[in-house]
Symmetry: C2
Subunit: 685 residues, 2 copies
Amino acid sequence: MSYGELDNLCINTIRVLSADAVANANSGHPGAPMGMAPVSHVLFNRFMRFNPKNPDWINRDRFVLSNGHGCMLQYSLLHLFGYDLSLDDLKHFRQVGSKTPGHPEAADTPGIEVTTGPLGQGFANAVGLAIAQAHTAAIYNKPGYDLVDNYTYMFFGDGCLMEGIASEAASTAGHLQLGNLIGIYDDNHISIDGNTNCAFTEDVLKRFESYGWHCIHVTDGDNDLSAIDAAIAEAKTVKDKPTIIKLTTTIGYGSKLQGTHEVHGSPLKADDIKSIKEKFGFDPEKKFDVPSAVYEHYGETAAKGAAAEEEWNQLFAKYQKEYPEEGKDLARRLAGKLPEGWEKALPTYKSTDPAIASRKLSETILQKLYPIIPELVGGSADLTGSNLTRAKEAVDFQPPSTGLGDWSGRYIRYGVREHGMAAIMNGLAAYGTIIPYGGTFLNFVSYAAGALRLSALSHHRVIYVSTHDSIGLGEDGPTHQPIETLAHFRALPNCMVWRPADGNETSAAYYIALISKHTPSVIALSRQNLPQLENSTIERAIKGGYVAVESEGAQVTLISTGSEVGICIDAVKYLKEKHNVVARVVSLPCWEVFDAQPKEYKLSVLPDGIPILSVEVMTTLGWEKYSHEQFGLNRFGASGPYKDVYAKFEFTPEGISKRAIATIEFWKEVTPIRSPINRAFAQLI
Amino acid sequence: MSYGELDNLCINTIRVLSADAVANANSGHPGAPMGMAPVSHVLFNRFMRFNPKNPDWINRDRFVLSNGHGCMLQYSLLHLFGYDLSLDDLKHFRQVGSKTPGHPEAADTPGIEVTTGPLGQGFANAVGLAIAQAHTAAIYNKPGYDLVDNYTYMFFGDGCLMEGIASEAASTAGHLQLGNLIGIYDDNHISIDGNTNCAFTEDVLKRFESYGWHCIHVTDGDNDLSAIDAAIAEAKTVKDKPTIIKLTTTIGYGSKLQGTHEVHGSPLKADDIKSIKEKFGFDPEKKFDVPSAVYEHYGETAAKGAAAEEEWNQLFAKYQKEYPEEGKDLARRLAGKLPEGWEKALPTYKSTDPAIASRKLSETILQKLYPIIPELVGGSADLTGSNLTRAKEAVDFQPPSTGLGDWSGRYIRYGVREHGMAAIMNGLAAYGTIIPYGGTFLNFVSYAAGALRLSALSHHRVIYVSTHDSIGLGEDGPTHQPIETLAHFRALPNCMVWRPADGNETSAAYYIALISKHTPSVIALSRQNLPQLENSTIERAIKGGYVAVESEGAQVTLISTGSEVGICIDAVKYLKEKHNVVARVVSLPCWEVFDAQPKEYKLSVLPDGIPILSVEVMTTLGWEKYSHEQFGLNRFGASGPYKDVYAKFEFTPEGISKRAIATIEFWKEVTPIRSPINRAFAQLI
Ligand SMILES: [Ca+2]
Ligand SMILES: [Ca+2]
């Protein structure tokens, strides 16, 4: 393809628009937008397929800016192509309440696919988006109906490549032979500490070759539009490998300080911007000045995208007639609906049923849902046999050439890559046709904290199957026994943390996790067997908390989760028999969900008048919210058979009873004893 | 070197001893010990220098088992060489209270250098140990005095290599040309999910070549002792690159199930163990049976190590005479003492001093301590200019050939590799001559959560300089604004979380962080300026909490940290002027340290009789521990100038006052109002 003056005008418009917005905000990163304007122009106009009027069109090409600090680039592009992002929005870059926050947020801005900025995340999200495309295509495409054939493009910088999460995702993408994934590496030799030679001297393309990627180097990313074009075109021809295009650019191209880290993260000076505008033939006195030719040109690209969607809509209408079952299923997924009546498959239990580990209960649920919710795509970070995350009949998602599965497979072997797995799941969820879940030990969800945070911030329905949830895992010891982990995720906004106590509660956890379209869930599951509780039902448990043992004239409420609820129930008997003390028990499998119940209900569960003792074999931090006294483990655990470990730390009916009595005694003198549900004021939301 | 029957006997002894211990515990991982027995035997007897009678000898070679689940290998070796680990200890493998927990813990077992098990950590720790050696050698070695010339050896498996943290550390080690680091990769094609071909098909050696490592492949790691020997010998000759030896082995070598994932993580069956013993010429009926020839042979190696230390002690004695200053300094470091009077360098501030961002206050401290505490080795994950972690006169720790620094440099450019940085710091701290600190944004310490957890569990004095600590960072927005982060680390045992409010508190944070030899510290620092408080002193702040504003007849206590303390003090005035309400203010820069104060003191800070309102611009989770009502931010923040963001969420004198009044009203009806310092029972520690 040939490129001319108009192209340069467009590219320079992106540059000055981005520089203007950063200067106007007096905050932001002008360097990357100015350096990557050429490749953006080529990619978006000559290769990408998208309709700015419908950012949700399923077969659009996906674009991820993994170096999210360069988001003024993306905002400029979205504006120029006619997304719902006005020049005024650009003028409010980095202001409270704007659609143009300091880093791109999927929930805030039309056209932003995933939230980026925390480095490396976008890279792994893109791998997830590419997996989702390959999988969705394998499920739905038919001869003559390439319903789903979009590409995923991503930009990333040196910072992303240094992050381990990108290594994990890159190795995964290479193994999976994701030919639909094209990454453009902004090789500008600059990171915040200065020249990358101070910390990052690896041979990037060789590294990506070792992962199984196709590698291309474009040496003049500042000017050689034809070479950029040729590289992307070449990448598209490689069907069995992801491609990385190393694009050597000059950060802050056009600035007096171009090529230095000074243009990375600070606004350019006024005289520098003026000189840039002069250099590029713009009026140095005008700000946010977009030549009409640029709007026109980008409008043409947008119109082509709109036409492509229209064509696709017709194709899909035809498809729905020829393949009514698949058509209905895809339409349902795109509407964000679960299959009618799916919840009937959730198992229920009676208290006479045998004790079962909640990881095993989870396995039963996943097995039962496997044939009913086809959009469930699972996996594990190399702990399949421990997390119990794989349905018996599942096929692995693998390149067919491996002989280990195929593209329609619904089980992903993530390898020992927790952070990568979580961020890939964010990408899977963002695609729009998949509900991802993935397993690891609860303790190692912490490795994925950066990505789980973005599940929450970006409103992704991602399910973290988190087994071996406490000292109850026993012999593996303190290195594997979570103490702080649940407190961490309970403190994370828009994240549901479940710690079910039995079968019905586990079903409740999955029920809420699956119907909550905009919230991730961490489901903490035991390694050891747990008894089925007498009063537990799915209906009760989906309120997040309920009365597990009611007792007339109770002197104390024991509130607990997961494996300790059963021990608390035993403690009720022990207290009665040994001390003639009457206690009641509340199971609180999910704080976030309980918090959302009406106050009246919450007070019926945690009534005024008697003190409350919390019991959980991990940090007490946060339990003060629901209790007057707390029994927990504010230290690391111990390696040994789990019953010995529980006994060591006194998580026994006797140990709980001792503390329950101390609680009753201690609170005798206070009147009234108010339930902690009563608060002086409401929190801002 | 030649190898014979005795060597095979030793190797098979390790195998059967490990299999016996795992079977006896009925829990554990026999596969790796059996597969890696040959290389261990060669490495420990023919190459490594260590004295089992003094595991702390500074010039010992370091050994790290990054695939820590294989720890029975290490326990067997430690026992056979005569470390303080008896056969009885091996019989108590994975039992409560034993010295042989399920994964190796540095604080529990003599001869264990670093805590491993969480995959990839040990790999990065080893990089830290190697950096420490190179740095310490550069500081102390003199002509004729190779005081510090040890190697760091590490074993790691497929799991470690899949983890991003290992990629980060490997890239760093290659950049740093760490010729003293030799890694042995247990290439056994097996991970928990089965054959590595399902998820891990990258070309590992090519990847390491791309990082700048020297690469060797030993194809028969089960039997070819000479090839193993030659590979390690070759690695030692390569002085300007770390070496990876890919050692192809058979997991569970000798078992009927060898080469399958079934021998990875479960005890071998009794009949399998019998057959192994028969195959290797052991009495199948005997357990924990060590031939005396093996003890003798390993005893000889141990004796050589003891002699080497003795020789070293003489060398060091001579060195101390010839280089008294350096000798004294090294002796001081080895004794774990800080330079006398160092604390006098900590800056103090008067309330009339200007407002300064606490990240800047931290910079001043690091600058002042730079010449006084030479063992302080700092760095940043590519945020030097933002974290302000570099002393002006600092030299970078870099290979001299880069022209960017030298081996004696005390500033490490970690690159954008937070997890790797943290785990490398654990290795630096474990070495014994360095106190490491490293900077990143507080929000991205979460990327390093896996390693920070091990700082705490392993008792490493590591300082996490964590700037941009709240919504106060402003424009970068919710992707960068911590909400859950401090709660997470406050819930982590043996971790000090500091959030200083001004200059004196920042000095106090560093004071306690530096004198706490067995505890890591997270120091949360503001981007924005903070006023110097009237009542703050280092002496008060080192108690973790103190009264910042006392008021006769106070009706409410405001308790706060960091940037909100100053706003609370303004709220006191506002409350008095606008509402005639009397309030007092407590600053609580470090919960962990405050918790350790005598109860009487704590009650003087948080007295009975009036309600307490906590104020912190992040999750309220955990604040119930110190307060009756909580004002916080249980949602994500917002992108904008920080004053606008604070105003949006009502963290203003007015917003605080409103809630203080609500708190007073709400608690009027309760008697007595007890300080939350009063508890019904003490927590287990
Ligand atoms: Ca860069
Ligand atoms: Ca392996």
